[in-house]
């Protein structure tokens, strides 16, 4: 467990066993920190959120928030979902179809009996003036400031069925925040939106998340979303944490093929000996001085590789190897070549280069990469780069 966070924030040692699937992850998040949980489908991301929210109990481990134990598989302590100070934004929002936007947002204040005392903290004097009476009126009084803050005031009377995707997303966020949670959980909050809306909502979401005082966990399989919204990244694969770190670290030094593909890098594992790295899939690289020994990972940007149709003449480039073009894909402004060789690589070239060099599938070409373009790092050090 990370000692840096102590009793503050979220400290979770999560273990869930469900048939052949098992999730085992240590997760910490400091107050005010946005932690993105990134991973492919079925990695256990949603299960992780579900345990934190109290919708799924742990098979093993412990969850505490702000020093308060929410779940402890050893002692048997378990705080039911309804009693946890957690706000959950579901992937499909789950706005109550029979309630107006206002009553959806007022649901949590009303259910939690958030009285005038809490309403005051939320920045509006409205709750105080209502006095001690609880229930609908007070829930609504707490909800109004949230509607205003998320620009939903005009939609207060609408039913969820009459909202656009972006509006529904904002209502879901407002509803989760109105309950005054100490921990905010977002499960793929933008995946239900079309591409154009997503950009707008993403910017807005970042603003609201940065205004949230407690720890925030954001599950996503979109690396861009994670890079934009999160302070820190946690990559989950097959129920295990494979990498943890700042977005910049993860983007520069991916730990697994999955992460490398997400951030668009070629990733190779190999054994380092001096300036040489023997790659496990065949081939070798000459790399810059890196002080690494033994098992290392080598990351290479697709745009840093040079393609030539003839063996290059003597040059300062230290790494040159033959490969065969297996496929060409047109990305927006460049062509991605899928090359098979020792090692295989993805290489980005301009459409003009493809035309001039007459590149076609099945063609044999030479690849070269300068040693300085290769990022070398110890395979065992990746998980620990959280930098706390």
């Amino acid at each position: 467990m990370n000692p840096g966070t102590g009793g503050e924030g979220l400290v979770a040692d999560v273990e869930v066993r469900r048939g052949p699937f098992s999730l085992r992850a240590s997760v910490t998040a400091a107050p005010g920190e946005v932690l993105a949980v990134l991973g492919p489908n079925g990695a256990g991301k949603s299960t992780l959120l579900s345990t934190l929210a109290g919708l799924t109990p742990l098979s093993g481990g412990r969850i505490s928030l702000g020093g308060v134990t929410l779940d402890d598989a050893d002692s048997g302590d378990f705080v039911e979902a309804a009693r946890r100070p957690v706000g959950f934004v579901f992937q499909d929002y789950r706005l109550f179809p029979h309630l107006s936007v206002l009553d959806n947002v007022a649901f949590s204040p009303r259910a939690r009996g958030l009285g005038s005392g809490r309403a005051r903290r939320l920045g509006s004097g409205r709750g105080r003036r209502l006095g001690s009476g609880r229930g609908r009126a007070e829930g609504r009084a707490t909800a109004y400031p949230w509607l205003a803050r998320l620009g939903l005031a005009e939609l207060a009377r609408r039913r969820p069925a009459d909202l656009s995707g972006g509006q529904a997303q904002r209502v879901a966020l407002a509803r989760a925040l109105a309950g005054d949670p100490a921990l905010l959980l977002l499960d793929e909050p933008l995946s239900a939106l079309d591409a154009r809306t997503r950009i707008d909502v993403q910017t807005e979401l970042k603003r609201h998340l940065s205004g949230f005082a407690g720890p925030c966990l954001l599950v996503t399989h979109d690396p861009l979303e994670a890079l934009v919204l999160a302070d820190r990244l946690l990559v989950l694969e097959h129920g295990r944490v494979v990498q943890e770190g700042t977005p910049a670290e993860v983007a520069r030094r991916p730990a697994t093929d999955y992460v490398a593909r997400l951030v668009g890098l070629n990733l190779y594992s190999g054994t380092a000996a001096g300036p040489h790295v023997a790659l496990h899939e065949g081939g070798a690289f000459v790399v810059p001085d890196h002080h690494e020994r033994g098992e290392v990972l080598v990351a290479l940007r697709p745009s840093a590789v040079v393609v030539s149709t003839t063996p290059p003449a003597l040059s300062s480039v230290r790494n040159t190897w033959p490969a065969t073009i297996a496929g060409l894909t047109l990305l927006t402004d460049r062509v991605r070549l899928d090359l098979v060789g020792e090692p295989s690589a993805l290489v980005d070239v301009t459409p003009a280069a493809v035309a001039e060099l007459d590149l076609v599938a099945g063609q044999r070409v030479w690849l070269s990469a300068k040693a300085t373009e290769l990022e070398v790092y110890g395979a065992d050090r990746v998980k620990g780069v959280a930098g706390e």
Binding site: A53, G54, L55, E80, A81, A82, R83, R84, V86, G87, F88, F90, D92, R94, F96, P97, H98, L99, F107, S108, A111, R112, A161, R175, A176, G179
Partner: protein, 290 residues
């Protein structure tokens, strides 16, 4: 009509209208082959002719006087309030029962479900006999009610309500249980994360979500209670003004006053039509609100 067993290329005339329809739908012929059409028509005739008879034989001219005859009015009133009370009881007891059947798990749950839905298929008269044996003056519960509290249930309006509830409640339970099973539990999870206790979830999320099915179940239950005959006459008898409900009144009036019997039947027919229309209506389409 042409012989369909003719040569493979035998052509039949396709009217422009039929041609246009098939082009638009992309579907095949919409007419029925004779071997299916004839039995279907027989079936329709069998079901509709008796109702037509009812309409044709009705003494429309003196309808008002007959229906305001004391016996008919009393039967109508009794039927309306007893079936309404039976529906209310079914709601209060049946909805929690449906919830327990749909959402909990315990040893013998399936047996309980089978027993609860048994009255759906049980001949009502058997239900009446059973009620009599349980709550009758000599019944295994009824004798104590009589001895200790001086309460006698059989052959009272209370017995009418009990007989109707016994027969009709399963309709509500089955309808609501089905809706609870298919309801999206995601909403309930969301409510839980928003701090709602299980009872708050039930009142503010679960019930509103199954409201259409709840209404449909209540209407079905009420209609079934209104038409109840066998269990009622066995357990409550047929005392005009006290236990003689509409169906029972119809049965007895048929011998003494056929015109009244016909008119009372028409009233019940009208109620049935209204129920049918209501159930077909959008807000009662069953299932779960989305």
């Amino acid at each position: 009509m042409k012989d369909e067993a003719g040569s493979a290329t035998a052509s039949a005339r396709l009217s422009p209208r039929e041609r246009a329809r098939r082009v638009t739908d992309g579907a095949g012929p919409r007419s029925a082959p004779i071997p299916l059409l004839v039995p279907a028509l027989v079936g329709v005739a069998f079901l509709v002719i008796p109702l037509a008879g009812l309409l044709l034989r009705a003494p429309w001219g003196s309808a008002w006087e007959i229906l305001h005859g004391s016996q008919a009015t009393e039967a109508l009133k009794l039927s309306l309030w007893t079936s309404s009370v039976a529906t209310a009881i079914s709601l209060v007891v049946g909805v929690p029962l449906a919830w327990v059947l749909a959402r909990t798990d315990f040893l013998g749950l399936r047996v309980v479900r089978a027993l609860v839905t048994l009255p759906l298929v049980l001949p009502p008269v058997v239900g009446g006999v059973a009620l009599l044996l349980a709550f009758g003056r000599n019944g295994f519960l009824g004798q104590y009610l009589d001895q200790w509290f001086g309460i006698t249930i059989p052959f009272s309006p209370t017995a009418v309500v009990m007989a109707e509830t016994f027969v009709a409640m399963p309709f509500l339970v089955v309808t609501v249980e089905g809706a609870l099973r298919t309801a999206d539990r995601g909403y309930e999870q969301a409510a839980a994360t928003l701090g709602a206790t299980r009872m708050v979830v039930f009142w503010r999320v679960t019930l509103p979500l199954v409201a259409p099915s709840l209404a449909a179940g209540a209407v079905l239950c009420w209609a079934r209670a209104l038409g109840e005959f066998g269990a009622t006459i066995t357990f409550a008898g047929s005392f005009p003004g006290r236990t003689q409900t509409m169906p029972i009144a119809v049965y007895y009036a048929l011998e003494t006053d056929p015109d009244a019997a016909i008119l009372l039947s028409l009233v019940l027919l009208l109620v049935s039509v209204v129920v049918l229309v209501a159930l077909r209506d959008r807000w009662l389409r069953g299932g779960v609100a989305r």
